[in-house]
């Protein structure tokens, strides 16, 4: 399949990624090429074997559910731009200021 410029704009919107108008033609062409390339998997019969193999995978090792202190080596006050009364202070966003 071939991706259109509109498709790429829609995906960029989903990914919360601003793309300059000027970059869109080249980006669309590159993304379309990548998607066309990986689409070769369409032709592969992966059958039902894959699920069988998955069932044999070793279980993930788990640890006991114990609450432990965060392992910070530096106090948050030393790396946060602003930290007051136990909370990080961040710049107010313009849109929120109006509310």
């Amino acid at each position: 399949m071939t991706l259109s410029r509109k498709d790429v704009e829609r995906i960029a919107e989903l990914a919360a990624l601003h793309v300059d108008e000027a970059q869109l033609p080249q980006l669309t062409q590159q993304i379309a090429r990548i998607i066309d390339y990986v689409s070769q998997l369409d032709a592969v019969d992966t059958g039902s074997d894959a699920a069988t193999w998955l069932a044999k995978s070793p279980p993930q090792p788990l640890r006991a559910d114990q609450v432990r202190p965060a392992d910070l080596m530096r106090d948050p006050t030393s790396f946060a731009p602003a930290f007051r009364e136990g909370v990080f202070v961040v710049p107010r966003l313009a849109a929120m200021e109006d509310e």
């Binding site: 960029a12 990914a15 601003h18 990548i34």
Partner: protein, 463 residues
């Protein structure tokens, strides 16, 4: 001045010298930080296995001494509040953390040209690339500026630059080394790996950073790897040579170098067995669906709130701020991969791409499993299809760049261990040979590599 501090001072001189010459392998270095570590180590002597070893660290691994930027504007100046388990273990073993090394942005690339802070040069020919994404680590080791380095692997990012630069690079089995403190790219593929000038040094670094870590639920429940005894020959080793890794269009020099290495291993007592990994051809398309999918999810956190400088448009809501921040903060290759990853995970395409690729991954992994269960100890292949290529050559053609990983990414997809080592030269440039071993089969792989290292002259032209 003690011998240890003198050693650190000499390393500092070497790092500054190679950077002055324009290698650009280093993103952060402060000689005072290095000398302080050496002084401290002197004051509290350790008999650690890596005592005094000077190590460069890829800049996507969290350190307290230096910022961790991932080669990205979006993390410029970011200082981690904690350090990676691998770093903690290196220090416990007596190693000195010298500097942070350059990389493709968020480890996405095969040439270290995608760093937001400028490309790393090849240590021998500056107009060539050192490979990537751990190009800074490999170049710095090859230039002799540090004793060893940490890199990270998602699809070959330690082995391919190791091959291009003529050093040893090890990708451990998935789960062998803790990922705690390794900035996530493709979480089901990522592993921290070791770079060294020789098999022994890289192996020692790997052993020091390995072992179960409660901070990483995907780390295997195994003790640290112990340095194996290095044998005199390859009696008892069955080494498979997969036909799919020697295609007709393989670079002639790479073919000759690997062919010579195989002949030497046979002479040293190994049983060489032609084998097949029939799903090898699926690896690149599978990888370039799964890795971007995981990346698009992992990199969602860089939004100007949780991480990164904020670029807020004068008008607009919080979504506009996210978009602007990410649009400015990410470079072209990261943007491409986020868009591809978002696409293959989006409604209507998930089954056709992501789920299909997951199933293809099982087929690729099963190829390896069958061979190793059938009596093959190790596989031997080229680490990369060519020697180092010219800077800029593949920059505008993502598919051409992706194909540089064709021989390396199958091992990541299959969760097995692999390593690259120099096996000669073609046209004056290093050729990388690759061993691939079964899951947690590092010891036997390192043994075979140590023997091959003695059998081949890495400086000899392959014909």
């Amino acid at each position: 001045m003690t011998a240890l501090v003198e050693r650190a001072r000499e390393a500092a001189d070497r790092i500054e010298a190679v950077e002055r010459r324009g290698l650009h392998a280093v993103l952060a270095f402060d000689r005072t930080v290095l000398l302080e570590q050496a002084t401290k180590l002197d004051a509290a002597p350790t008999d650690g296995a890596l005592k005094g070893l000077v190590i460069g660290v890829k800049d996507n691994i969290a350190t307290l001494e230096y910022p961790t930027t991932c080669g990205s504007r979006i993390l410029e100046g970011y200082r981690s509040p904690y350090e990676a388990t691998a770093i903690k273990r290196l220090k416990q073993a007596g190693a000195l953390i010298a500097c942070k090394t350059n990389l493709d942005e968020f480890a996405m690339g095969s040439s270290t040209e995608h760093s937001a802070f400028g490309r790393t040069r090849h240590p021998e020919q500056p107009d060539l690339v050192p490979g990537g994404s751990s190009g800074g680590s490999a170049a710095l080791v090859a230039a002799g500026a540090v004793d060893a380095a940490l890199g990270s692997e998602t699809g070959g990012s330690v082995r391919q630059p190791a091959a291009f630069c003529g050093i040893v690079g090890i990708k451990p089995t998935y789960g062998r080394v803790s990922r705690y403190g390794l900035v996530a790219f493709g979480s089901s593929l990522d592993q921290i790996g070791a770079c060294g000038p020789d098999v022994q040094t890289a192996s020692r670094v790997l052993c020091a950073i390995s072992g179960r870590d409660p901070h990483d639920a995907t780390s295997a429940d195994l003790p640290p790897l112990e340095l194996p005894e290095f044998p005199d020959d390859l009696q008892g080793f069955t080494i498979g040579v997969p036909e799919e890794y020697f295609p007709d269009d393989l670079d002639a020099g790479v073919r000759a170098g690997c062919g010579r290495a195989i002949a030497r291993m046979r002479d040293a007592g190994a049983t060489i067995s032609p084998v097949s990994l029939p799903h090898t051809g699926l690896a690149i398309p599978t990888y370039y669906i799964l890795a971007p999918a995981e990346a698009s999810s992992n990199l969602a956190r860089y939004d100007g709130v949780r991480y990164g400088p904020r670029y807020a448009p004068p008008e607009g809501d919080v979504q506009a701020m996210y978009r602007a921040t990410r649009g400015v903060g990410f470079g072209p290759e990261v943007r491409r991969r986020i868009i591809v990853g978002t696409y293959v995970l989006s409604a209507g395409y998930y089954d056709a791409y992501y789920r299909k690729a997951l199933r293809a991954r099982w087929l690729i992994a099963r190829d390896f499993e069958k061979l190793f269960a059938g009596g093959v100890d190790l596989l031997f292949t080229p680490a990369a299809p060519t020697t180092a290529f010219r800077a800029g050559e593949k920059l505008e053609d993502p598919i051409a760049m992706y194909l540089a990983d064709v021989f390396s990414c199958p091992a990541n997809l299959a969760w097995v261990t692999a390593m690259s080592m120099p096996v000669g030269r073609a046209g004056g440039l290093p050729i990388g040979g690759q061993f691939i071993g079964p899951q947690f089969g590092e010891a036997r792989m390192l043994q075979a590599a140590s023997v091959l290292e003695r059998l081949v002259d890495p400086a000899a032209e392959a014909r």
